[in-house]
Amino acid sequence: MPSFDHDAVSAAGANDAPWRAATRSAAHDAYLATAMPDESEEIWRYIELGFDLDDYGPALEPGVPLDGDPLLEVSHPAVAGRLVDGYWVGDDVEAAGVTVGSLDRSSSTEPELVESVVTGAGLADRRDRFALAATAFGGDGAFVHIPKGTVAPGVIYLETQATKPGSTSFPRIVIAVDEGGEASIVVHFRSRQEDDLTVVPQIVAALGDNANLSVTVVQNWGYATRALGNTNVVVGRDAALRFAEIGLGGKLARLHLDVRLEGRGSSANIVGAYFGDKEQTLDYRYFMRHIGTNTRSDMFLKGAVEDEARSVFTGMIRIENSGQKTEAFQTNRNLILSDGASAQSVPNLEILANDVRCGHGSTLGPLDAGQRYYLMSRGIGEQQADRLQVHGFFEEALLKLPQPEIAGPVREWISNKFVAAQVAGRV
């Protein structure tokens, strides 16, 4: 396995456009000077990383793809592509004016566009070891371009796999939705259950004026995968972002989401559903910045933890001085299904404007005894009653998914996790 050295930087940057080459070596220097983050930093509080990235060298080429993606078919995609260990495999796809393909190729053919998305979304502000490694050692990625006024003909499906035990891969998905464009994207993260590896997935998107973008990430990493992701989105005037992450897999899976509502009248609708079992850690740090006037945001996340699993949700809504007439809400509800499981739910508001409407709610608790009793009074057995309650709990989030077609399998995966915990006698 290669290590995080100059050779790897050169190999990863073999196909770099000039703008990208420039950022690479600076990021490498910063990487070498940056230690693994720890709990003493607020943004890393509540979790233990318990590993060193240096032990997982960069993946510099794609491995052998995994097959049989169960989500692909139900999504009925108009366009489908695949990243393996961070590298686009296959040809670029063009359909109805929409291009989906290799980030490397687009970085050379449309350098200004790609550069403006990547640098405009604030990804460079992430100076932790993982984000720096991604800039220094990330190879290819996927680029989705929805030109001005174009409506993508259906779901764009991006399967994102990590296949190499002992490696770190850096899948990067860059999305440009130009003025008035519309797209719906499903991203499926996968790795084998037994593969001990690290992934630093990054999704970067820019929405032009009046653009509409829906992205749902189904996070299905294997139980031995550590994922430390960033998603950065900039939203233009009267544009609307819908983003959802379904958190199912990973030994440790973290997402740092950073949405900037820059344009006046822009909005973001964020949904989450996550279920941590056994010893999983699921970690969500969501930042919503209201910069433009008349902007609206809503975050709605539901999570459950059982056995020794832990989850973290910290939500930060920041309303800048310029963000007058803003509405911002966040809700995070958690089911704690076992005594050994824990959830942190930390909503924050930072309001610099005076004419705003904000609200936040956060709850933690076990299954409701009153609901269980009522269900059982209808002849439903205790275990089934609890399954129904878990179903109902997540249903409130799943009904808000931008792509209803994937709700079926997602519902089933969540349910399977709870049933497995019941069968093992843990809940």
Binding site: M376, S377, R378, I380, G381, L388
Partner: protein
């Protein structure tokens, strides 16, 4: 089949040292509709919950549904043994639609015709707009009672305990509910209607009225009991 849908004998129940039901004997024969009345806090809902198997209450005595003592059973076994309880305060089930709930009732039941009843009752009771909605979430008081009645029709139980199924209903709805209860009368069923009001009793033929005061049945009789209670109240006793 025995003669009695429900036969309660020497039933006591309480919370720790606090006794709420102080020895209840009450029988509802098959084919009959009985009413249970009594002042607030006298123990009517407690009786319903003790029969349903609420874990908070310690109960002693016996309660037979068609001759089978249900007191030792878990909540869902009692329901499967033929007991149905329409709650005074129906519980909200966020994220679970009414249709999902009745489907689950069907899966949990050993009989084959639950689905047919669910479809028939949905049409008869004009429940279509409610089937996709979450159970008791955002429903008005009257709508919750209708949802309980619908579940009753789906369950088609041996014993139905309807706790204040008429409270919060408008005049027409009270008549509807009473007629529905009357239409459910049959020789395989006994019904116990818990109520404060004479009104509902006017639209159905109640075979017997029991009066519960402070955890004891103090009187049982015909419709005249309700008339007198309405005129005089419980205090004169």
């Amino acid at each position: 089949m025995t003669d009695n849908a429900l036969q309660i004998e020497g039933l006591t129940a309480g919370l720790g040292d606090h006794q709420i039901l102080k020895g209840i004997d009450l029988t509802v024969p098959f084919g009959e509709i009985h009413a249970l009345m009594g002042p607030n806090g006298s123990g009517k809902s407690t009786l319903a919950h003790v029969l349903t198997g609420h874990e908070d209450y310690e109960a002693a005595g016996s309660a037979l549904v068609d001759g089978v003592d249900i007191l030792g059973m878990s909540v869902h076994e009692r329901a499967r043994s033929g007991l149905f309880h329409a709650f005074q305060y129906p519980v909200a089930l966020p994220g679970i639609s009414l249709e999902k709930l009745t489907n689950e009732m069907e899966d949990a039941s050993e009989e084959g015709d639950v689905e047919t009843r669910a479809i028939d009752a949905a049409e008869r009771m004009r429940m279509e707009p409610f089937l996709d909605r979450f159970v008791n979430v955002g429903l008005s008081g009257g709508e919750k009672k209708r949802s309980e009645m619908y579940q009753l029709a789906v369950a088609a139980p041996t014993v139905a305990i309807l706790d204040e199924i008429d409270s919060g209903l408008d005049v027409d709805a009270v008549r509807d509910v009473a007629e529905m209860v009357e239409s459910m009368r049959n020789r395989q069923r006994g019904v116990l209607v818990i109520t404060h009001y004479n009104r509902i009793l006017r639209y159905m033929t109640v075979d017997r009225i029991h009066v519960l005061v402070d955890g004891r049945i103090v009187e049982s009789g015909g419709p005249e009991v309700a008339e007198r209670l309405e005129a005089e109240g419980y205090k004169t006793r």
